[in-house]
Amino acid sequence: MTSIISFRDATKVFPGRGRGQDVRAVDGVTLDVRAGEIFGVIGYSGAGKSTLVRLINALERVTSGDVVVDGVPLASLGEARLRPVRAGIGMIFQQFNLLASRTVAGNVAYPLEVAGWSRARRAARVAELLDFVGIGEKAGAYPSTLSGGQKQRVGIARALATEPRILLADEATSALDPETTQDVLALLQRVNRELGITVVVITHEMDVVRSICHRVAVMEHGQVVEVGDAYQVFSAPGHEVTRRFVETALRDRPSSAVLARLRKRHAGRIVTVGVDEVAGSSAVLTRVLREHGVDGTVVYGGITEVAERPYGSLTVELVGGGGAVEGAVAALRAVTSVADHGTAAHPAPDAGPVTPPGKETKR
């Protein structure tokens, strides 16, 4: 796959106000977004991700370095030359940013007017777009009468109007409730699959990355601290920030408080076994326990999907005679990540109860 967006040591510095210090919102980012993928940029607020995405359509200009979009280096272009580039990139926003003075149809027609389409072609295209996002019946309504989800659908229709190759989504679901978020994410996925549009998603919600992103970049203090396949980044987070995000998305690992309660209820050996596509599945767990004659009871955990592949962990209480439990744990370690919490009588506090399995396999 070829890269459609290419950051080359891109840096954006905002001059400090008054005597304030300069802010390096984006600090030497080198990154490639491949054509046809859904690329996620995740980070806490202030990490610079909103500025990063605005470098792509030059709403913000780089201070140094460059951003190459579809083969065009943006840093050297003047404001007037940038306008056609922007028109070829759709963008949706957290607060939707619809024109209150225009109807739904009027909003979707806006970029077509900018692009100089005739009235008749505009009308046909608007109808087609509203149909695609599923709000055809709202064409004559004003934005103030719409729900958040409907507003974002209008935003998406508007962003797609001029048939862009790239769609930028700046916290597009952050103002929506969980159910509506899923609808909008599904729509973004359709945009990617059916129209072949490259989507760049900015978010602070790991759930968004987990649901739709193929690849992800993690940002902190204006820098990309980790980038890669969404599944890989999830299962083997290499940076502290990534680890914190992973924990927010997957609550399958027992915290120390949970572990204390588990030990009260279960006297046997407690281990957390990683479940993922690469390192094994719950079928492996069942087989190993049977082979070693060990009884296993699932006491905590969960398996979900990351980038449409299974991912999670199960915490089980193991009970067996002799060295059977030791043998089973050793056999499990050979195929997947295992965090051994010990027994209630002999707890193993160093097992790292909240450590994702990927980190263990890496050691």
């Binding site: 359509n57 709403l59 007037a80 306008r83 056609p84 580039v85 922007r86 028109a87 990139i89 963008m91 926003f93 607060q95 940013n97 619809l98 024109l99 209150a100 003075s101 225009r102 806006y110 970029p111 007017e113 900018v114 692009a115 004003y142 934005p143 103030s144 508007r158 001029t162 930028l168």
Partner: protein, 218 residues
Amino acid sequence: MTWDRLGPLLWEAFGQTAYMVLITLVVGGFFGLVLGLGLYLTRPGNLLAHRVVFAVLNVAVNVVRPVPFIIFLVALGPLTRLFVGRIIGIEAFTFSMCFMASFVFARLVEQNLVTIDPGVVEAARAMGASPLRIVRTVLIPEALAPLILGYTFLFVGVLDMSAIGGYLGAGGLGDFAIVYGYRQYDWAVTAVVVVIIVLIVQVVQALGNRLARRALRR
């Protein structure tokens, strides 16, 4: 004096006021809109951010606006002579009114534009719209209702200004009330003029409110 004689004079005064006010609304409204847009657009961080232009416009508006109009009239004398050719008469007076109204309206326009969500402007930029197009298709339509109300407010202010037209021999309703009412101790004449002015203001305000409400269908 009887109303037989006053009637035509009052009608003439009304015509003079209408002349001053309407010309000022058109000319002052136009330049006020341009100046207000200039203030908004050149403000640091906005579409055409320009520190120097913004500072000049901002200071100009701040200097002109608080000057009492009756003093402004005199102070503007040299400029009035330059543009109109004389410093008294209805044309000279109307020139001064246009000047003051532009600066008053500029601030009103700017204050209304500032309330527009910058995100909407950013969205238009992201779609490749030029600054001029954004002014035409985003800023003015989005702020239309408050702009109409601001314009209505300007009307009342302009009517107020026109009342001292007598000082420069421009006539008008204010002059009529002073010459034939106040100076003749004829309170009835003054009262009639007051009633006429109140009625005009009421009608225009009602019209402005209605138009603004229609613009606000959202």
